[in-house]
Symmetry: C2
Subunit: 117 residues, 2 copies
DNA sequence: ATAGTTACTATCCTAAAGGTAACGGATAAC
DNA sequence: GTTATCCGTTACCTTTAGGATAGTAACTAT
C-alpha cells in the first residue's frame, strides 16, 4: 500500500478523534435530534417525540441522556402546571453543525446520483 | 416549539438526504475504511485488514460490499500470482470527505473540551 | 506432496440497538 | 373520582451489528 499520497501524516490524534466522534454520534437518532434542536431551538420532550418520526419515548429518553452526558444538550425542568422539560443545545454542540451540513450535502448528491443511474 | 429561529425551512428533501447519508455511512467501520482509502489510495484486502485495527475478514468483507453497492468504492481483481484485489474510492466518494473532516474536527474539539473539564 | 499466501466464506454466537406495550407520579381540569 | 397531560420508566422481545474460529479455492514455491 505504500506511503500516503494524500496527506502529510495520518496522526494518531486524528484517528482517535474520529473514533470518538463516531461513538458519540452513533445510532439512528442522535443526529436527527441535534438537527431538530438546531432548527427549532428549545424543545420539550413531547416536541421531540413528534419531530423524530417513529421514535418511542424509551428510545428518545435514552438518546437524550447520552447526548446530555456528552455535553451536547442541556435538560431543564420547568415548574409549569403539568411539568415540562426543555432541551437545548449547548454551545459545544455547535461544533456538530458542520457534520450535519456535510451529511446533508452528501445525501443530496447521493440521491441525485442514484436518480440519474 | 414554535417556528424555526435558525433556518428558513427544514425541507423534506434535506431530511431524507440526511437519513440516507446516515444509513449509508452507518456502523463502526465504514467511515474508517473510507478514510484509509483517502489516505493511502489503492489498498488491497490485506492492507485494509491491517489498517482497520481489530476488524475481522468477515466484517471487512461485508463493509466493502456495502460500500461498493452504494457506489463509494470499486473492487478490481488483479491477475497477480496469488490473486490480489484492489479497492479504491470512486469519484462520488469524494463527497464524503467533508463529512470525515467535520467529524475529525468535532472529535478534536470534543477531546479538548473533555480534557479541560 | 506439503506448506504458504491471498481473499475471502461459513457457522456459530454474543452484545448492542431498537421496538412494543403498559404503567407511574405529579398536577390539574371537569 | 374520573379523566387528561407531561415525562418519563419498566419489562420484555426482536433485529442488527459485530466477533470468534475455522475452512476453502486458487495458485506458488520448495
Amino acid at each position: 500500500m505504500g506511503k500516503s499520497n494524500f496527506k502529510s501524516e495520518p496522526g494518531i490524534e486524528r484517528q482517535l478523534a474520529l473514533q470518538d466522534a463516531l461513538d458519540i454520534l452513533r445510532g439512528k437518532w442522535k443526529i436527527l435530534i441535534l438537527r431538530s434542536l438546531y432548527l427549532y431551538g428549545t424543545m420539550r420532550f413531547k416536541d421531540l417525540l413528534e419531530a423524530s418520526k417513529n421514535i418511542t419515548p424509551k428510545v428518545l429518553s435514552n438518546e437524550l441522556q447520552q447526548l446530555e452526558l456528552n455535553l451536547l444538550i442541556t435538560r431543564t425542568v420547568n415548574n409549569t402546571k403539568p411539568i415540562t422539560v426543555s432541551y437545548e443545545l449547548t454551545n459545544h454542540a455547535i461544533e456538530t453543525l458542520p457534520v450535519i451540513k456535510a451529511l446533508i450535502e452528501f445525501g443530496l448528491k447521493h440521491r441525485k446520483k442514484i436518480k440519474d443511474n
